[in-house]
């Protein structure tokens, strides 16, 4: 894609003034306006659909494709609503000049947000097509049949049909989604809801896909950024002469940013190596002091996600009066996203207008950040998101965009910056470490009586318990972090769910009730019961109380956990085998997942499988080690992400609910994996591990037993 200098981003002009027809020819446009952040009410993206006289349908949404299959799924929804073949739909995503505003591709919102708006816009467009076809065919709109891009009337010999292209020929109609437009119910879907393979697959398997790091512009330079030793460090002094004496090298220092641009990457890195910088490096805690640091360094909440706080009844008193009471603290380590393609960006200025190609989950946020940092209006910035090699919540990439744009502006050339793997580990941001404290009570019949949960530094997602309990208090406490942290696929939900589902098992063990039965007794949500039952049935789960007390020698165990988040319901079953040398093999995983109506089962299954595998990494071995703000293991060889041999057989059970709106699958399938494994390890060994990763260095930690029996009240 080439930049179009002087053009104005579509989202910044009135719908009627957008040059749709100049770009894509005459036709019909139906749009649903976005509701940007700060405009009152909850923000949501928009959508527009262009039905062209060239026979193509162009559908626009502000999401981006990160390999999660959103392109295929959204294409199928548009094809479904417009009654056209998927092959005649062009889906345009990830370009701030052409698409509606969108908050970003995270939080599993693509289907609920873009999916719903695109369906509405496409269903709205269909109404106009139906009406126009009725006029042309001389029949009532209700008797027009629409299929495969054609409108039809009559039967047999008298049947007549008109292609959509002809219906829209010569028109330039721009309409909002009519209020009476109703997308078709999922139960009637014929295209969506069936397996579909990914479009552009042939490009993937022949190496023809161009990711940002593969793109090259005429006259492009390579950039390298001088990163601080820790993220709170500030630059005291900088000596640039030696670097600048290399021919073709530009050194840029603007505010806290320092970087170089050079004709090739080796020169850029060599020049960066010649920069002499002195940094002010503030004190920061190491791993030993981190839990205490969180408890003593509160921070005001960032946004409404952080704000969860909920109380009902008197949990302390209820717990005091309970037959069984527990109290335990659970922690999860900082971990890294490790997208296989490290961050990359290219910036080019054409006159006053800036285009940035970047692997980012939040192109509109990047645009706003650039406008702020560079002091230019949004209108003069275009962000394009090429195919991106993984995000997982780790690619918001605002600072990289700004740095690359600065290098391009100063050097007068397009500039590309690609991070090395080490930079990806140490200079982007991490999944926050979490500390979760739970105090709970149950009666002798195995019913929950009290529940208190306080979470430090993870966030509020999934902090509320889905189990029925009369006395409860939950609270999220945002804290300062000595390492740079940010979003991650299912971050807080993973921590909060790990803590809750672990404690549920610990309670079950003490009440002597089978862990599945124990959950059922306090579970009202029928959809959660359904995933739990599905997994238990597939696993052949037979009720028996959790074994208690330490055992030694090789043993096997089973564990189950469930979770509810972002509209999806998940239950995971795991079998483990613990060897005499305290390694743990995962024998089998079953995950049941339900997220409403299924749009694309093949992709959904892949998402659930992939999410389960990603969760295995964080559950078993992944951890960032650090000391005084410095990351100590920022290399792939020092950071164990799951590989072929680490992945057990995974069975995915998808529960389809065509009567419910579709929710996403990018996050929720991860959240029951870690507690299911912890529960299975306890079942096998009698040892309760309350820290993720469960197997630091590949083995059960020694001393786990000590923490097991130290904290609970009885």
């Amino acid at each position: 894609m080439t930049p179009t200098p002087g053009s104005v981003p579509f989202d910044l002009v009135e719908p009627a003034a957008r040059p749709y027809f100049d770009r894509w020819g005459p036709g019909l446009v139906v749009y649903r306006p976005a509701q940007p952040a700060g405009s009152g009410g909850p923000p949501h993206g928009g959508a527009w659909v262009h039905v062209g006289e060239d026979g193509r349908v162009r559908a626009f949404a502000g999401k981006v494709e990160l390999g999660q299959g959103v392109t295929t799924a959204l294409t199928m929804l548009v094809a479904e609503e417009l009654k056209v073949l998927p092959a005649s739909v062009d889906l345009i995503l990830g370009d701030t000049d052409l698409t509606p505003w969108d908050i970003g591709t995270f939080g599993s919102r693509s289907m609920a947000d873009a999916g719903a708006h695109l369906r509405a816009a496409a269903a709205g467009a269909l109404q106009f097509l139906r009406r126009w076809a009725a006029e042309r065919l001389g029949v009532e709109p209700g008797s027009v049949r629409l299929d495969s891009g054609r409108a039809m009337a009559g039967e047999g010999a008298t049947a007549r049909s008109i292609p959509y292209a002809e219906l829209v020929a010569g028109r330039s109609r721009i309409e909002p989604v009519p209020s009476e437009s109703h997308p078709s119910p999922p139960a009637e879907w014929s295209v969506a809801g069936r397996p579909a393979s990914s479009r552009d697959g042939a490009k993937v398997v022949t190496g023809a896909v161009r990711y940002t790091s593969d793109l090259r512009l005429e006259g492009m330079l390579e950039g390298a950024i001088l990163f601080p030793p820790t993220f709170r460090s500030t630059l005291r002094s900088l000596e640039t002469r030696a670097a600048e004496s290399i021919p073709g090298v530009t050194v840029v220092r603007e505010g806290g940013f320092v970087g170089v641009a050079a004709p090739d990457r080796a020169t850029a890195r060599a020049a960066r190596g010649l920069l002499r910088a002195e940094w002010e490096v503030p004190e920061a805690p190491g791993e030993d002091g981190i839990v205490e640091y969180f408890r003593t360094h509160p921070k005001p909440p960032d946004d409404h996600w952080d704000l969860d706080r909920y109380a009902v009844g008197d949990p302390a008193a209820a717990r005091g009066a309970s037959a069984i009471a527990l109290e335990a603290t659970y922690t999860t380590a900082y971990i890294a996203h490790v997208p296989l393609e490290p961050h990359a960006a290219i910036a080019e200025w054409v006159g006053e207008r800036l285009t940035v190609w970047i692997g980012s989950q939040t192109p509109f946020r990047v645009r706003a950040a650039l406008a702020r940092t560079l002091g230019i209006p949004n209108e003069r910035i275009r962000i394009v998101v090429p195919p991106t090699g993984g995000g997982f919540g780790g690619k918001h990439a605002e600072e990289l965009a700004a740095g690359t744009a600065r290098l391009a502006r100063a050097s007068g050339h397009p500039v590309r910056v690609t991070l090395s793997r080490e930079e990806e580990f140490t200079q982007t941001y991490l999944r926050p470490m979490a500390v979760v404290e739970i105090r709970s009570g149950a009666d002798r019949d195995g019913r929950l009586t009290a529940w208190e949960c306080i979470t430090w530094n993870a966030g509020a997602s999934a902090i509320r318990t889905p189990y029925r309990v009369d006395h409860q208090r939950v609270e999220n406490r945002p804290t300062d972090s000595p390492l740079r942290q940010g979003s991650y696929r299912a971050l807080a939900a993973t921590a909060n769910n790990f803590a809750r589902e672990s404690q549920m098992d610990e309670l079950a063990a003490r009440t002597g009730v089978d862990p599945v039965e124990f959950r059922r007794r306090s579970l009202d949500d029928p959809r959660l019961r359904a995933v739990l039952d599905a997994v238990a049935a597939r696993a052949g789960w037979t009720a028996r109380p959790r074994r208690r007390g330490p055992r030694s020698g090789p043993s096997t165990g089973r564990g189950i956990a469930l979770g509810l988040e972002k509209g999806g319901r998940v239950a995971t079953y795991v079998e483990v085998e613990v060897t005499a040398s305290r390694t743990v093999g995962i024998g089998r995983i079953i995950t049941a997942y339900e997220c409403g109506a299924i749009v694309n089962p093949r992709h959904l299954e892949g998402q659930v499988e992939g999410g389960t595998i990603m969760a295995l990494g964080g559950a078993l071995g992944e951890a960032i080690h650090f000391d005084r703000g410095r990351i100590l293991n920022g290399r792939l060889s020092a950071y164990p992400v799951p590989r072929f041999l680490d992945v057990p057989p995974i069975e995915v059970l998808l529960l389809d609910r065509p009567d419910l709106p579709s929710a996403g699958a990018g996050e929720t399938p991860l959240i029951a994996v870690a507690p299911a494994i912890a529960n299975a390890i306890d079942d096998a060994t009698g040892e309760r591990i309350r820290h993720l990763p469960l197997l630091p260095g590949g083995r059960l930690p020694t001393g786990a037993r000590a923490t097991d029996f130290a904290t609970p009240k009885n």
């Binding site: 090739d264 296989l340 093949r602 998402q607």
Partner: protein
């Protein structure tokens, strides 16, 4: 490591046979093959993932053997035959392995896919009917962060069977 800054590394001209074509390039023998292939020859299907030999994204074939190009000094392959992902499909026809990846939907973001296909190509060339363990150990050096392992395994099994059967259910 490649010792990129080694003082005895001076530019020479060499011939590489890449994807069936002779390419004469001016090269520093110690530069990594990955850099030369991507930056000099513009064959960007071969990916960078770690630079230290542990992700497999940079794999290509040297005389039919899968090699991690990030660790291979270009001087070592002068005069030998190099095949990148772009060179596998002849006249636009996918190889059975490429087709099997497509049929099994064995990718999400697709960034690991070239390295995976190269590794699988080398495996099946040498061992057309690998056991499950042989597949796993041959592929263990290739990372897929999107968690595509079950489908990648299924794709390799499928290519080994040489069948046009529908996607296998057993993963």
């Amino acid at each position: 490591m490649t010792g990129r800054e080694s003082p005895c590394s001076r530019p020479v001209t060499g011939t590489l046979r890449i994807n069936g074509r002779e390419r004469s390039i001016s090269l520093e023998p110690s530069r990594s093959l990955l850099e030369v292939v991507r930056d000099e020859l513009g064959l960007t299907g071969t990916k960078y993932g770690c630079g230290e030999g542990v992700c497999g994204a940079c794999k290509l074939l040297v005389d039919g053997v899968a090699v991690r190009s990030c660790l291979t000094p270009v001087g070592e392959v002068v005069g030998r035959s190099v095949t990148t992902i772009e060179g596998l499909a002849g006249d636009g026809r996918l190889t059975p392995i490429q087709q099997a990846f497509l049929d099994e939907g064995a990718f999400q973001c697709g960034y690991c896919t070239p390295g995976m296909i190269v590794a699988a190509t080398a495996l099946l060339a040498q061992n057309p009917q690998p056991s499950e363990e042989e597949i796993l150990s041959a592929m263990q050096g290739n990372l897929c962060r999107c968690g595509g392992y079950p489908r990648i395994r299924a794709a390799i099994r499928r290519a080994a069977r040489g069948s046009s059967a529908p996607p296998s259910g057993d993963r």
